[in-house]
């Protein structure tokens, strides 16, 4: 029993992080059909932000890094994606590849290829034991931040005028503009939100890994895609379900695979994802709109 609870706790930790990765990608896709591969570089920027400001106290460093990521997300939209807005999804995707490589190489030039280690409080590396179940500090951090962010996002979408506009635009962008919703405002706002997601994820990843490096966005962004694809691109709840399944699947394979196969756990996880996508190419919760 304790063991099962232990696995559930581990899965919750992973799923929380994955949800924080997947949601912003799903939101941006829902609004403008852009699969933003450069989302990973927003995370990287956040991590370097933490590195730069780490000398100050951590809460302030986290806040400043978050501000920088949001500004970077807004700049990215303005400079790279606005000019190609309305182009085919392929064009948008390739644009995001270009942005991604550009930012990665800029980071290599500025910070070099060696990871920059970031001191984080030992608080997060401690483990709490409750009734035989070990809970790592970083797990508590991930779950806590995910609950706050997702809850905040849901309230924002339901209660505020801007959230209302975003929901309408996600269903039918053209129609939303025709009833007076401003495209630029909605898209900028969505990117700002994706920046918040990237900044929070960067914080967790830095606490987990202890360093910032130029290519650190790649794995998270792939996880984000896989989770959103599984759930159904562009659907909010789909991204959450995809993240939960991916987290649970990873832990399940970790537990069930014989020891000698455990190191290739990821291969099994993504193999399972392939099977899901073969059976349900639209994802588990297909996005709910036709585009014009």
């Amino acid at each position: 029993m304790t063991e099962i609870i232990q696995h559930l706790v581990d899965a919750a930790g992973l799923a929380s992080l994955y949800a924080l990765l997947a949601l912003p990608v799903a939101l941006v896709y829902g609004i403008m059909n852009l699969v933003n591969f450069a989302h990973g570089e927003l995370i990287m920027i956040g991590a370097y932000g933490l590195f730069i400001f780490a000398a100050i106290t951590l809460p302030l460093a986290a806040f400043l890094a978050l501000v920088i990521v949001v500004l970077a997300a807004l700049a990215m939209e303005r400079a790279a994606f606005r000019p190609v807005r309305g182009s085919s999804p392929e064009t948008l995707l390739v644009t995001s590849f270009a942005v991604s490589f550009l930012l990665q190489n800029a980071a290599l030039m500025i910070f070099g290829s060696r990871p920059k280690s970031v001191e984080t409080p030992s608080l997060f590396s401690q483990t709490v034991t409750i009734g035989g179940v070990h809970i790592e500090g970083v797990t508590i951090l991930s779950v806590g931040l995910a609950v706050i962010c997702i809850g905040g996002l849901v309230i924002f979408m339901k209660r505020t005028a801007f959230g209302m506009a975003m929901r309408a635009a996600a269903e039918d962008f053209t129609m939303a503009r025709l009833v007076g919703i401003r495209a630029n405002a909605v898209i900028s706002g969505t990117f700002a939100i994706s920046g918040v997601g990237a900044g929070v994820a960067a914080f967790i990843l830095v606490v987990q890994g202890g360093s910032a490096f130029a290519t650190m966005g790649l794995t998270p962004v792939i996880i984000a895609f896989v989770a959103t694809m599984m759930g159904g691109l562009g659907s909010f709840s789909g991204a959450l379900i995809g993240a939960a399944l991916l987290g649970a699947g990873t832990v399940a394979f970790d537990v069930l695979l014989p020891t000698q196969l455990r190191s290739s756990r990821e291969a099994f996880v993504y193999g399972a994802v392939l099977v899901v996508l073969l059976i349900r190419p639209q994802g588990l919760v297909p996005a709910r709109r036709e585009r014009v």
């Binding site: 005028a161 929901r167 269903e171 009833v179 007076g180 919703i181």
Partner: protein
């Protein structure tokens, strides 16, 4: 109905010599049209006469090949639809497009946001629009669960919530039963006065057109063949001989 009224004051929506050509086909071929505030203008004509294309070019969905569109003194020829909508020229579509997963109230709210910056004020405005359309009882239903008639009404509500000066309605009564159609007709008839706006309506049902419109403009093959009061149009030999009979058969089928 159909009595000449004092045309509303304020800017008019004016098309002058509008042509829309598609690869040699003259869908609209030099049409003049004036829509005034306070009136309902009927735009009728057989299928393919160019009615929807003309409305498209008045609302920014089609750039005229030649001619101009003015909103008051302002030249709005070829202006994008979203901008025109913000200037108060708004339309419905033959296929009503609601935000399917939002509730009826939220659909109208989304449109009310423009003029009412805060969510709370948008809700108040949207609620009053739904009351006016007698749709309050379905306010919390999701748009995709609505009947065809209900969704047409909600679409109209969403349009009204944007506070348009000119509303262009493309076959609003299509697919409605007689009772629904009558109710919608009564509602549309009340709009110019209630909202101080001008309404242009494309409709095949001549019963609706005759009851509703202050003026009727008849198109055929992309040209205006008649323009006048319902009485004048009914009496016009060109229209009644060549056209109205066939439309009434269309509508009956």
């Amino acid at each position: 109905m159909g009595v000449e009224r004092d045309p509303g004051s304020g800017p008019e929506l004016v098309a002058a010599g509008v042509c829309v050509h598609f690869e040699g086909v003259k869908a609209v071929d030099g049409v003049d049209l004036t829509l005034r505030r306070g009136e309902v203008l009927g735009l009728v004509g057989p299928n393919g006469a160019g009615k929807t294309t003309l409305v498209n070019s008045l609302t920014g969905f089609e750039t005229p090949t030649a001619g101009s569109v003015h909103l008051g003194d302002r030249d709005v020829t070829g202006m994008p639809a979203a901008r025109l909508a913000r200037l108060g020229v708004a339309r419905t579509f033959q296929s009503g497009r609601l935000f399917d997963h939002l509730t009826v109230l939220e659909n109208v709210e989304a449109a009310a946001l423009t003029g009412h910056r805060t969510r709370r004020r948008a809700v108040v405005h949207a609620t009053s629009v739904l009351e006016m359309l007698e749709l309050s009882h379905i306010a919390s239903r999701r748009a995709r669960e609505l009947s065809h008639g209900e969704s047409r009404n909600v679409e109209l509500g969403r349009l009204i919530a944007t506070g348009p000066t000119f509303m262009l309605l493309d076959e609003p009564a299509a697919g409605l039963n007689e009772a629904e159609s009558d109710q919608l007709t009564a509602l549309i008839a009340s709009l110019p006065e209630r909202l101080d706006c001008g309404v242009l309506i494309i409709e095949h049902d001549m019963r609706v057109i005759m009851r509703l419109c202050h003026r009727i403009q008849v198109l055929d093959h992309g040209k205006t063949i008649a323009l006048g009061t319902p009485e004048a149009i009914r009496a016009d030999p060109v229209v009644s001989e060549a056209y109205l009979g066939s439309v009434e058969r269309d509508a009956a089928s």
